[in-house]
């Protein structure tokens, strides 16, 4: 019962946050200099004064701000994010077309970063003078200081142009024919460089944190007890230490959803990955208000859902969290 109540409270809070995001974004777009009707007219190839007035009435732009705001929130509640002037398509359709590509890229990169980061961290904590330590330090510096789009371009130059191992752009090759497995393999082939690029930012973060957490745990009394019981080093590391070193990494990973989206926008641009980031950039440059609002809303939704899921995962792996709901 307790967990249901907590979850319910979180959900209500999430709904309030999302509404606030909607209000802020809508107001920002509304009060920005420039006229939306102009953009719509431009996308139609120009319009005279009469048509402009007609556009204003049609899109409800002649209504007072609050009427427009509440109408927008009402539409979003019924899963209608409006109609893109630029693409001439419903915004939800546009977003759902692009969302899978971004999620695939972002989730694979995060999983890779967490797994490799934790492995590197654990290994370097167990061998403080070993080569893994240097790796972690170098990764950490590179991951922090290199602009992610530059890392992507370097990989592109190295492993796509100079040594043609991977495709230059896109998510799949239209000339590839075959069943599901062949197509999946083709996508995986296209994914290698973008995923490596995106995970490079986070790899450093996770390996540093898991090394610190492991060093702290390995020095504690119960690890000494476990060793005294005669458990092997491997057993101590995997069964006892890792279990306690993992929660901080999961918490940190859960806080990165916003950063992952930011990174994805840049990585998608470098590799022409057909995801939300690319859609965002085009619609921002074309000032396609409904699409921009829709993407901002969806990104906030992804971050909020991500935080909720992290919370639930933390409850599963860390019994201490359950007490402090």
């Amino acid at each position: 019962m307790h967990i249901v109540m907590t979850l319910l409270k979180r959900l209500i809070y999430a709904a309030i946050l999302l509404t606030a995001v909607l209000v802020l974004n809508f107001s920002m777009m509304h009060f920005a200099p420039g006229d939306v009707a102009d953009t719509i007219a431009a996308s139609m190839g120009g319009a005279d004064a009469e048509t402009m007035a007609q556009i204003r009435v049609e899109y409800g732009l002649d209504q007072p701000f609050f009427v427009q705001l509440f109408a927008y929130i009402g539409r979003v509640l019924s899963f209608d994010l409006g109609y893109s002037y630029f693409y001439n398509t419903p915004v939800t359709e546009l977003i759902f077309e692009r969302l899978p590509a971004t999620l695939l890229l972002a989730i694979t990169a995060q999983v890779l970063a967490v797994v490799v980061g934790v492995l590197l961290g654990v290994f370097s904590a167990r061998h403080p003078n070993g080569i893994a330590n240097y790796f972690v330090t170098i990764f950490a510096l590179f991951g922090y200081a290199a602009p992610v789009f530059w890392t992507g371009i370097l990989l592109l130059i190295g492993f796509s142009l100079k040594i043609p191992l991977f495709p230059v752009a896109g998510m799949s090759d239209v000339t590839v024919q075959g069943g599901f497995f062949v197509k999946a393999l083709d996508i995986a082939h296209h994914m290698v460089l973008p995923v490596l690029t995106l995970s490079s930012i986070f790899l450093a973060l996770y390996s540093r944190l898991s090394r610190a957490a492991m060093l702290e745990v390995l020095g504690s009394d119960y690890i000494r007890t476990a060793k005294a019981k005669g458990l092997s080093n491997r057993e101590v590391t995997l069964k006892h230490a890792l279990k306690n070193a993992l929660p901080p990494v999961v918490t940190l990973a859960g806080l990165q959803f916003s950063a992952v989206i930011s990174g994805a926008v840049l990585v998608e641009s470098v590799f022409s990955w057909p995801g939300l980031g690319q859609l965002a950039l085009t619609s921002i440059l074309a000032r396609d208000t409904p699409t921009i609002l829709g993407i901002l809303f969806f990104s906030a939704l992804v971050v909020i859902i991500g935080n909720l899921v992290t919370d639930l995962v933390m409850r599963l792996i860390d019994p201490r969290v359950r007490g402090h709901a």
Partner: protein, 290 residues
Amino acid sequence: MTQIDDTPAKARSPFSEAFEMFRRNHAAVIGLVILLTIIIIALIGPMLYPGDPFDMVWVPLSPPGEEGYLFGTDYLGRDMLSLLIHGAKVSLTVGVSAAFVTVIIGITVGALAGFYRGWVEEALMRLTEFFQVLPTLLFSMVIVSLFGASLPMITLAIGLVSWPAVARITRAEFMRIRELEYVTAARAGGVKNNKLIFSVILPNALPPIIVQAALMVGSAILFEAGLSFLGLTDPNVASWGQIIGSNREYILDASFAVTVPGVAIFITVMAISLVGDGLNDALNPKLRQR
């Protein structure tokens, strides 16, 4: 005649102790030297290497060294070295001013939340969470595209999405310090809230905030580079990210035009990170084993 030094050993100020600690950290000192060099280049470079960076001087995309152009020319035949020198000033200025905006908003929100607690804290922390939910890069892209791609607007946009981290650190420090005895004593002595916040608690809360601010400069430089790489920047100003973005189509023929400015960003941010780590060790000795 021998003179005996009879001045009592002076207790060292925390400042000189921190300075000593920083000085002994080789990585941090190297970082500082690199950073100072870049700052000097940004300040006096345009005087030593005069000329408008936007002038077309030679064949487009000619490789480094040709015709005496150390880093070659870009896709419009402009001198890359001149662009890089002018870009340094832009990147550093935006980085430092955006970090400043971040710190000012962060300290204000964090200090008020940590000091007043109650509903003030509740409201401000909800506001902080709200800003953490916003997708930072997307949101700032929208701000810049809507309100004008000028350097002040870019600075403001970066500051506006980056302050929550500073607010959280400041709040945590304020919550810890406000319970300490000297604060209670000052309060009992009739010190007003304003003075308590700014003269009693804030100076003692500064060390972790200074470290965060230093690292923020690095993040802001990367942030600006990302925005200008995507083309959301003032087209009349050269910045490192913008040089990469405008030459990206030509990586097949002239990879130097994107690698070199990237190296400039990398070295600058790395130097800042080394200095930040050094400051962290020097100012927060308790946290040293990170």
